[in-house]
Symmetry: C2
Subunit: 200 residues, 2 copies
């Protein structure tokens, strides 16, 4: 089977940042491609009654420390954003708009959203910030800002989020390979095993 | 530092079953020992407002499928218990009672609790079942059953659970090495890295 591997995530998810850094290289080693699928994690969390990780006593503190050490392990820049979690509708809409033009450029834009937010600690919730990031990857900032208000991409993010929940996606990151779901940045070893064996 | 590595878990936790299978061998490879610390996960969950995994929509179904594939990966017997999750007070009290006599035998008893519950799908909430398991590891079934009602071990499980929550334990399994916490069966690679480097 050669359908693209689906990588579901919210741009406000630290564990998605850590997974996004690795997933394309890993999957491409098996001759497969990755479709990035930004979604609104908050909508999925309504289904599972989940809260943002940092809102939980104990678990919130653990996660903050865990992100810090994961960044050191993966040698990634890390600067915990002051405003967190944030609304990532603008980033997701512009991502799909960019994706419809050029997958590689869209991923470069998406990765830049992640590193701007988690690597530099800069809030990426505003359409202006998203426009500025888009402009670094061959897109017009004005066109990108317009896309954040485009009914097509408003609907796209909503539809992709609903489709994700229907497929069982309840967290970020969540990878689907040939219908099999893998939740969490810690499960890329399992994705790899699936890809190597073509199932089990 | 050579303090024992602490392995916190609830006997009703599938991910603890998967971690328990590996942790001693892994840690002993670094010349350290493991203290098994059964606790009442429900008490920790009150602090974090958590629910048993299978109670969550989507996540519950995902976890059931995940346990099945993890068992195949680790080549462990797996038989989802009909009654799940269960109260594991009897198992925890007898574990500490056994631990105070012989660490190795206590771990053998503890591992048998896990495999009886998750490998064979047999309910281990009754003190009679716990007595029977204890009798397979050099303990008197009657003495084990008596220990389930012993004020010393009632207090011990309560105290260990409270101490765990104070140390930040909010889930199962949870490993603490030299004060550093690692949550989840998926984080043994990180425990290993800590043990190898003596921190980071």
């Amino acid at each position: 089977m050669t359908d693209p591997v689906e990588f579901y995530f919210d741009f406000s998810s630290p564990y998605a940042y850590f997974a996004a850094h690795k997933i394309d290289d890993m999957v491409e080693g098996f001759g497969r491609t990755v479709d990035w699928k930004p979604m609104m994690l908050g909508a999925a969390m309504k289904v599972t009654s989940g809260l943002p990780l940092v809102k939980y006593p104990l678990k919130g503190d653990y996660c903050r420390a865990d992100w810090d050490r994961l960044a050191r392990f993966q040698e990634l820049p890390w600067s915990m954003p002051e405003n967190f979690p944030i609304a990532t509708l603008a980033a997701a809409r512009v991502f799909y708009w960019a994706w419809d033009q050029d997958h590689a450029k869209a991923k470069a834009f998406g990765w830049d959203c992640f590193t701007t937010f988690f690597g530099k600690g800069i809030d990426i919730s505003s359409r202006e910030q998203i426009g500025e990031i888009a402009s670094r990857h061959g897109f017009s900032a004005d066109d990108a800002i317009a896309a954040t208000n485009d009914d097509v991409y408003k609907a796209r993010v909503k539809d992709e989020t609903e489709a994700a929940v229907e497929k069982g996606v309840f967290g970020s990151p969540f990878v689907i390979v040939d219908g099999e779901g893998f939740w969490g940045a810690d499960r890329l070893w399992m994705v790899k095993r699936w890809l190597r064996a073509g199932g089990w």
